[in-house]
Amino acid sequence: MRDERMDADDPLRALADALDVEPSPGFGAQARQRIDADRGARRRTRRYAMAIIVPAAAIALVVVWAAHRPSDVQPRAVSSHAEVVPQSAPPHPVAPTTEDLAAERSATAVVARTRESRMRDEGRRGSPRAFRNESQAFAAVPVVVPRGQLEGVRQLASAAASGRVRIGPPLADWAAGVQPEATPLQAPDPLRVPALSVEPLAN
């Protein structure tokens, strides 16, 4: 501010003299050392952060992916209407192989034998009251149909025809209306069986 310099008793002049300090000789070298140390520390921090963040992010991604992975079966609670969960893949257009059927059978918990059928097997007969009770209980017996497989219902009907299991009228009527050669695609609404409790199989 030499162009606006004040006279000798101006405080600015005194201040200028007081502030005329010089850095000590080692100032630059010390500053340099601190800058280098700071850079090293920041580099290390970055490296550690990457070592922690990258695996953590990968794990988080896997967890999120696993949590949102599309599932083949979306279980639904079905009460009065039989409803089978839609398949993620379209039904197989050709007849299932023996292995498919075996796998299906193993995956199908066929209707538990009713008490009446057990009694019949054992040569006993229940009282009318007991039979009525069992008939009421019958409607609540869960029928487990393999995922989208008409074949499973056919087997159920077949088992009922052979007397091994008993099925209620709605399913029996429905099963009777299904043409033996019908494929799941051709059958009229094959997977909707009223008045039966049907649960889709868990995966």
């Binding site: 606006e4 003299d17 700071d38």
Partner: protein
């Protein structure tokens, strides 16, 4: 301006040299700005070095050397004030009084000079920060109004009015 032309690949040696150049040309300025707040040489150097450390992190963004100096000045000023408030001062502020009132051997004269120096610093401390920064920058290195404006990041007219106001207040207090 930046010593490297656009598009040139800058080597690590270039960066080191550039930083050294900036250290050499701005060290005194940073130390003086810090000293104006802390009034202690060791503390002022500490703060100035810390300011350089922080400035070095932003070298890429502060290519223009004039902008770098202005940024460094304001950073140093701010850090010095924070340093002073945080109670990290290692020494007393006697350094500054002693610089204004060097010992002459005559006890009476020395005491009077020290009192005057102490009053001056008190008056400077009493100034609002915006006036104090302009006053200090004007006192350092004989900066012109334009240079002070560039360093403080304000308009030239603002510098003039602030300087006028600072001097008026100082003279009032020292009267």
């Amino acid at each position: 301006m930046r010593p490297w032309p656009a598009g040139r690949v800058v080597s690590a040696e270039d960066r080191v040299r550039d930083l050294d150049d900036r250290l050499a040309e701005s060290s005194a300025l940073a130390v003086r700005v810090a000293f104006s707040v802390l009034r202690n040489h060791a503390d002022a150097e500490d703060v100035a070095q810390e300011a350089f450390v922080r400035a070095s992190r932003r070298l890429g963004a502060l290519r223009d050397r004039d902008r770098f100096r202005a940024w460094l000045v304001r950073l140093t000023w701010r850090m010095a004030i924070d340093w002073q408030r945080s109670g990290r001062r290692r020494g007393t502020r006697e350094d500054a009084v002693a610089r204004l009132a060097p010992q002459h051997g005559n006890a009476e004269v020395d005491v009077a000079a020290r009192e005057r120096a102490a009053r001056l610093w008190q008056a400077i401390d009493a100034l609002p920060e915006r006036l104090r920064l302009v006053l200090v920058l004007a006192a350092i290195d004989g900066h012109t109004t334009r240079e002070v404006a560039a360093l403080a990041g304000v308009a030239e007219g603002t510098v003039k009015s602030r300087l006028f106001e600072a001097r008026r207040r100082l003279q009032e207090q020292l009267r």
